[in-house]
């Protein structure tokens, strides 16, 4: 595709144009403003004393020596939180167990009260004139810990006798949830001709946004109001939680500003201890309080992702068609339930287990388990990568066990009629799974694979190919639906379109860009709709004083939901402008046509451009203000009527060097159906980034704790982030079925790569190595161990 500068469009930037991102000039020239770039007069610096133990009772905390250190302004602990009646951090999605009981949410104070439950848990905060002084003083705090036995492993934490994290949650179990029809699924298995089973580990990941979390809290004693600058993906939700649950301040006395944010991947959805403490402490000390995470703090305390143990079985009939699917998953929650943690392994996971396939019966059980590790919550894809990995691994394994071609096995089980009601809540509105499979197979040159494999074998290399025909549910989400499933909030989005008298436009959105390119994509929509140049459109977001309310950005929702709200507001703007244009043109409103940025009297050449109508709206000279209010500003709330269902097919081809265990991804093909695409260049970038993270999960990344609950992968010396030379060139393509439930036909693209890629890579690895047992991350050492075991078995057989 050819990239074009946004400024090159003197008139309209149409939907579908690959314009360069408006925001990139700011970012690439160092003019972006991130939370840490802000400094407030008189600001102090916070440093958090963190638990060195995974599980310990705190007998006492002696801060007297530390308090006397140079530059110390204050030192606060859980006792001070209690004194100010500051509430716990909460999990905002209520899940009920099979027996009807509500989930068991362990107390999660922003600063520990009597107990620490993971390495990095927050014990105290030192607030000082400088960060160095704060660190010096923190080293002088004397904490008397009574170390407790540690439940570090997901596999054993539910066992009788395992150390207990929360009194409220016996067997460290937060909930035992189920979805689907157990009896129907049992019946399906009873008549199965073949049952394919699979045990999987979905490895724990650290999110690693480029910008670490940061916060500045400031209290204005005159207004009795707080301002919190912070790295959040959803400033209004942060404010709501801080007001309604934590009790820092009422909403109208708390302003949350999320300025430029350098990546989130989900990890910045949540309300954490540090941001909460900065806001609260700013009133206690009477000065602004600033905190910026160091990378090692990010590893310790940002919510991690994934971390499932799953056993699954697929029931097939004599013709290789799926009869039923049953799944039991244990999901690691870490030490506390993070903000949306409970929804990830449940309604964002179990509901996706039908994949692209016609499955008559599904039954899924999920146990949510506390361990002495950092909290686990949404990370790019959030539940859906875990579902896709499971479905696509067992489909591949089933095809191999049946001796069928993996593509054709998938194809014959594809859903082909829409809308399609799955047995696990979701109703797919549209899709064409064969189209993306066919296109991907053609791009990946499946026909040529056997020859490539033979050629590689001559060089002593093992080639394999793997498919991942994924589906995800995006456009989160119909509010009444998620409300009935336990969500504490609605998931609509808001927009306000403000047309200025000179005809340029500000759009206020409740979604939040932290790398997605909304300033360009959203402006493109407005430009196309109003017929004005893209540089006459500004997108405003990330400030609760500017945008009235919104739900933020995650779950690939900003296009499907956020832009739909903008469309609704634009509809209202156009309707009003049409009335005003009729007066300006002295014509009947019914005769006014709006096209190419001009209001025209049908059948004549009498026309008035949009900007002139805007000016007319504000001068209000030529229409009766008793009938039409002056001004041109409209707002809208859009609540989706269904999820959207992006889907596609990724194909990975690998070559393994059995001598070293090194895997080379020689070809990666991604064909995605995102519905209507606004800006293909931005979409392609989202796909690239997602695949890089998916390959990271498959081959490189894995958070490791030892049996004492110490984080082994606490820095980039041991946690392998994908680098440019770890990922191949990506061959990407699109197919399109319009989403039928939103006005633009958009499905969403932000997570697809991270959802699809791990299964594609591991299916290729298992093909290359001839074993289904290839764990993630499939590091060179792991792969070599597999190759070596196979060689030893061959030697023994000879």
């Amino acid at each position: 595709m050819t990239a074009t500068d946004a400024s090159a469009f003197s008139t309209v930037t149409p939907i579908g144009a690959a314009v360069r991102r408006k925001e990139d000039h700011r970012f690439l020239t160092g003019k972006g403003r991130y939370t840490d770039d802000f400094s407030r007069p008189g600001q102090t610096f916070a440093y958090f004393l963190r638990s060195p133990h995974a599980h310990a009772a705190i007998r006492s905390i002696d801060v007297s020596a530390a308090r006397a250190m140079p530059g110390v302004v204050d030192i606060l602990t859980g006792a001070d939180l209690a004194e100010d009646k500051i509430g716990d951090l909460i999990c905002g999605w209520m899940i009920h167990s099979k027996d009807g009981s509500p989930m068991k949410m362990g107390s999660h104070p922003a600063l520990a009260k009597g107990k620490v439950r993971y390495v990095g848990d927050h014990v105290a905060v030192v607030i000082a004139e400088s960060l160095h002084q704060a660190k010096d003083a923190a080293a002088a705090i004397a904490v008397d810990y009574e170390e407790l036995p540690v439940a570090a492993g997901l596999a054993t934490a539910q066992e009788a006798g395992a150390p207990q994290l929360h009194d409220i949650a016996p067997r460290n179990t937060a909930f035992e949830w189920e979805l689907g029809d157990r009896a129907a699924t049992e019946a399906a298995f009873a008549k199965a001709v073949r049952v394919v089973s699979l045990d999987l580990v979905n490895n724990r990941l650290a999110p690693n946004a480029m910008e670490p979390r940061a916060a500045i809290g400031e209290y204005d004693a005159g207004d009795e109001a707080y301002t919190l600058w912070t790295t959040t993906q959803n400033p209004h939700v942060a404010r709501l939680v801080l007001s309604a649950f934590v009790g820092i301040a009422p909403e109208h006395k708390l302003r949350v500003i999320a300025p430029d944010v350098g990546g989130g991947f989900g990890s910045k959805i949540f309300l954490y201890a540090e941001e909460t403490v900065c806001a609260w402490a700013s009133k206690r000390v009477g000065r602004p309080v600033k905190w910026t995470a160091e990378r090692s703090e990010s590893f310790l305390s940002d919510a991690h992702g994934r971390d499932h143990l799953t056993h699954a079985e697929l029931a097939l009939d004599a013709g290789g068609r799926i009869l039923g699917f049953r799944v039991h998953t244990r999901a690691n929650m870490g030490a506390y339930l993070s903000t949306f943690a409970s929804s990830i392994p449940t309604y964002l996971y179990g509901t996706l287990l039908s994949g692209q396939y016609d499955m008559p019966a599904i039954y899924c059980e999920v146990d949510a388990v506390y361990t002495n590790t950092a909290p686990v919550d949404a990370y790019r894809g959030a539940g859906r990568p875990e579902a896709t990995f499971l479905v696509e691994r067992i489909m591949e394994k089933a095809a191999r066990e049946l001796g069928e071609d993996p593509a054709e096995f998938r194809r014959k089980n594809f859903i082909t009629k829409f809308p399609h009601q799955t047995p696990v809540i979701l109703n797919y509105d549209t899709g064409d799974y064969a189209a993306s499979l066919d296109k991907a197979m053609q791009m990946a040159d499946i026909a040529g694979f056997p020859a490539r494999k033979a050629e590689a074998a001559r060089r002593g290399r093992l080639r394999g190919i793997g498919y991942s025909a994924y589906i995800e549910a995006c456009g989160l989400a119909p509010s009444s639906a998620v409300g009935s499933l336990g969500a504490g909030v609605g998931l609509w989005e808001s927009a306000e379109v403000r047309v200025n008298p000179t005809g340029n436009v500000e759009v206020l959105t409740g979604s939040h860009s932290h790398g997605q390119g909304h300033e360009t994509t959203f402006a493109q929509l407005v430009s196309a709709r109003l017929g004005i140049p893209i540089d006459q459109v500004t997108i405003v977001h990330g400030d609760t004083d500017k945008v009235q309310f919104g739900m933020g950005t995650y779950g690939s929702r900003s296009g499907a939901v956020g832009m739909s709200a903008i469309v609704k507001a634009l509809d209202k703007v156009e309707a009003k402008a049409r009335k005003i244009a009729a007066y300006l043109l002295e014509a009947s409103e019914g005769d006014i046509e709006f096209k190419d940025g001009k209001f025209t009297v049908a059948g004549t050449d009498r026309a008035v451009p949009f900007a002139e109508v805007a000016l007319g709206a504000y001068t209000a000279h030529k229409f009766p203000t008793s009938e039409i209010e002056p001004g041109l500003k409209e707002g809208a709330f859009y609540d989706p009527i269904n999820f959207t269902f992006p889907a596609g097919c990724h194909i990975c081809e690998v070559e393994v060097d059995p001598e070293t265990g090194v895997t080379d991804i020689v070809k990666f093909t991604a064909v995605d159906d995102f519905g209507v695409v606004i800006n293909p260049m931005i979409v392609e970038g989202q796909v690239h980034g997602g695949i890089a993270q998916g390959i990271g999960q498959a081959l490189l990344e894995g958070v490791t704790y030892d049996s004492d609950g110490q984080l082994v992968t606490g820095s980039y010396m041991d946690y392998t982030m994908p680098r440019a030379d770890d990922v191949p060139r990506f061959d990407v393509g699109l197919t399109e079925t319009r989403c039928t439930t939103n006005p633009l036909g958009i499905k969403g693209c932000g997570e697809a790569g991270a959802i699809a890629a791990p299964a594609a890579v591991i299916n290729a690895m298992t093909d290359a190595l001839g074993t289904e047992d290839v764990p993630m991350p499939a590091t060179p050492a792991t792969v070599w161990r597999i190759c070596e075991a196979q060689a030893a078995a061959r030697r023994a057989a000879e």
Binding site: G661, V712, T720
Partner: protein, 265 residues
């Protein structure tokens, strides 16, 4: 980082005087390990003695025996030196594989050798090439210089001035990188002279760089990858960690040795 005094002497004697007067002072020779250590508050020296402005500590000279490289010469300068490329091209190749571009522009030969990180690259070249480490008051042969993890023959306050690398018939370096840190998990430098073959291994040994003498002996009579194929390195003295077992490292050492030999056989 804790507070410290910063000194930047212009003469060797001046640096020695500071270091001998203050046993808690540390030399700064590029700082690619030391600065991150300080930033994490893992070291608290009283003073840093920056060696970068001392005359005569950097530069590359061709000698009758080979090439002499000043201790404060940056990796990038070794990598692109026409002299090194001509006399011992494998040494330039090795320097060009250290860290990333930023590390190569700041890190130095002497800094790497004084630190003697078990996963550093230069120790393999120094040991395989049988180089001589010259300090402010003596010369130390490679066989005597490396004494274990982060341990060397250097005395307190002793400053490396230069390293003398003898020319050899053939040499090559093959490295397998740790996927996360990109340090060597198995770095093998093979050097062949008329008299012997020396195979030095970094990144894998529990006690740092070591000579794989068995491989050297075999290669002295049959300089081919096939000769190495028959060997098995005992893993009992090799490192084992998150990134690979001792057995895996033994395999990597063997494969890297084969690949180094193959590149010059």
């Amino acid at each position: 980082m804790y507070s410290f005094h910063y000194r930047r002497p212009t003469a060797l004697n001046e640096a020695l005087a500071v270091l001998h007067a203050d046993s808690e002072a540390k030399m700064l020779a590029g700082g690619q390990t030391l600065i991150p250590t300080l930033k994490q508050r893992l070291a608290q020296p009283t003073a840093l003695v920056d060696l970068s402005r001392i005359a005569g500590l950097s530069g590359i000279q061709k000698t009758a025996e080979g090439v002499t490289i000043g201790a404060m010469t940056h990796h990038a300068d070794v990598a692109r030196s026409p002299i090194v490329r001509e006399v011992i091209p494998a040494l330039a190749d090795l320097a060009g594989q250290i860290g990333d571009a930023a590390v190569r522009n700041r890190g130095t030969l002497g800094g790497s050798l004084a630190n003697n990180d078990p996963t550093a690259d230069y120790p393999a070249a120094v040991l395989a090439l049988n180089a001589v480490v010259s300090t402010d008051h003596r010369s130390i042969p490679a066989d005597a210089y490396f004494q274990g993890l982060f341990e060397t023959a250097l005395e307190e306050g002793e400053i490396i001035v230069a390293v003398e690398f003898p020319q050899v018939d053939k040499a090559a370096y093959a490295k397998f990188r740790n996927p996360a840190s990109r340090y060597a998990m198995a770095g093998v430098f093979v050097a062949k002279t008329a008299a012997e073959v020396r195979v030095a291994v970094t990144g894998a040994g529990q006690s740092g760089v070591f000579l794989w003498e068995e491989a050297g002996d075999v290669l002295a009579s049959d300089f081919s990858p096939a000769a190495v194929d028959k060997l098995a390195l005992d893993p009992s003295d090799l490192m084992s960690d998150l990134h690979g077992s001792a057995e895996y490292r033994a395999q990597l050492v063997k494969v890297m040795t084969k690949r180094a030999v193959a590149s010059i056989a």
